[in-house]
């Protein structure tokens, strides 16, 4: 679930409030606040849409964990999902463009072995 809105990075653009499918965020004093964390469905969409990589969604659906922003930056995790989708500014190709893989079933039948 959503664990971090970086106060350093957030520019108050409201996009996370607008795109969250389950209405987790509220705007308070021109900045988004995690108002209803219990409604977060861990879909990672807010993180993908955040234009300044200010959000971090931890992979756990039910378990709240403490996260350390500096550590997330150091390990490259903050913004990594947007980067992988290819929606940042530095990527040469999007996830869809990189996905040149054949049909899953065909590949599985050919390469998995018995």
């Amino acid at each position: 679930m959503i664990e971090l809105i970086s106060a350093d990075r957030c520019v108050g653009c409201k996009l996370c409030v607008k795109v969250c499918p389950t209405n987790v965020f509220d705007m308070v004093d021109r900045l988004p606040l995690i108002a209803r964390k219990e409604d977060c469905q861990t879909c990672f969409m807010c993180e993908a849409y955040c234009p300044v990589d200010a959000l971090y969604v931890a992979p756990y659906a039910d378990l709240h964990i403490e996260v350390d922003e500096k550590e997330l930056i150091r390990s490259g995790l903050l913004g990594s999902w947007r980067f992988e989708i290819g929606w940042g500014t530095q990527e040469k190709a999007t996830m869809a463009e990189r996905d040149t893989t054949p049909f899953f079933e065909v590949f599985t039948a050919q390469h998995r072995g018995s």
Partner: protein
Amino acid sequence: MSLNEKRLCVDVLVLGGGPAGAWSAWSAASQGATVLLADKGYLGTSGATAPGGTTLLVIPPVARLREEAVQQRLRAGGYLSENAWIHRVLDQVEQNLEQIEQWGYPFPKDQDGTPLRTHLQGPEYMALMRKVVRKAGVKIWDQSPALELIHDEHGVAGARGIDRLSGKEWLVQANAVIVATGGCAFLSKGLGCNVLTGEGLLMSSEIGAELSGMEFSRQYAPSFADGTVTRGRMLAWSTLYDAEDQPLLQGERTFSSIPELLMKGPVYAKMDLANTAHKREFLRRAHPIFFMPLERAGIDPFEQKFPLTLRYEGTMRGTGGLRLMNKECSTTVPGLYAAGDAASREKVTGAISGGGAYNASWAMCSGTWAGAGAAKYALAQSSRADQRKPTAAGQYGLPAGVESTDTLEIRPLISSIQAEILPLHINYFRSISVLSSALERLHALVPYLKATPPSTVQGKVQTREAAAMLMVGRWMYTAALARKESRGLQQLADYPEMDPYQTHRLLVSGIEKINIRTESVPHAHELSLLREERAI
């Protein structure tokens, strides 16, 4: 009309902003209708497709291959599907995928330049659909869940809802409404599925629409136990282990035995069949959403075991939904259309789950058809919808149904509904006695909806979600108890065999009192013929 209300009149109102809603809106607008799309969340992020994506189904337009696919589908679906509809989907989806490519989706090409339409990555697919829908002139209201439909003696006339961000209520008058609100997954936290709580089915039922196939709702998807991503196909590359590290199973495509294994104890998976860098890279690229959460949790799924759970997929990956009356996907209510998982998919998948590929195709096709049908219907009306004098139809979990000043407590109500629907021992291992008592307990929850919904925006929306989940659960179990046999997704311990005399669909309708009746299907006699052949 209160001052604090947004108001609009359009030809076609689309409820839902997943793939089916997007295709519906685009299709209706392409026919010249004025269209508003209202979504509970955001067109681009809402629904089961957006966060992950989908594998596609492409069967080359070669008569023999198509015929084989259709026959295979008919058999697998327990003869409840219709060959003509399967053909229709295979034909239509090809056009839709071509359209997606023209709009700019970067399908890779093979050496001869033929596009390889193997997957759609969800975030990019749905961002593209948003762009296309806007460009077609559709007005989009995000964060705007519909709460109830409005109607008069001529049928549906629009909907009322609320803007979750401003708190403003809205009223949209429209001569045609397309319900594309998805299935009902009971807040089981499968990826992207918590917006799918069944309000579209409840709203439609309140104005008399019928549902079909609600008994085919026994689908659970394996997921990393701590996370949300449900990608069962990845387990085809896995070995399953028990808590003592003993291998249980290896490389099954469907792992249909996971429910049995989980009843005995924890189950772990490791993708150790992907034993080369090449294989690992393929899997990583084809389904990035599967790997990212595991990696964030510090797990390398090729090298380390991870715990599995099953997340209930309700009618989303089941088959049931609003009964469709014709090729334009209209329901039994004039002006009301259904697309995607909100509609019954039995015509195409019969008694089995559509799975990702068929369901993704269905969303595109049914959206295209419903959009065109709704536009044609709305444009043929002699007057605009705002000339009509409709009334609001919503009762359950809305002020109109309130009989007590006590405030409704939503969380306990939702937990009580989930306690009857999510457990494997009730809903997966179905038996008459267990289902009957669960259904009785669900019936007993209905009076709780007479309490006053909380006054917050979220309280209003969540009360309606709870009401919808409760009704969907009651319809599912009522239908499951009426189908006294095992066919496709419906398996009943008391009746483990398929009964050829029940080769029909089950239609349910009504809320307080649930009515149930059968509908005949065109290929039923083929199943009987097969049995006669065997007997000889």
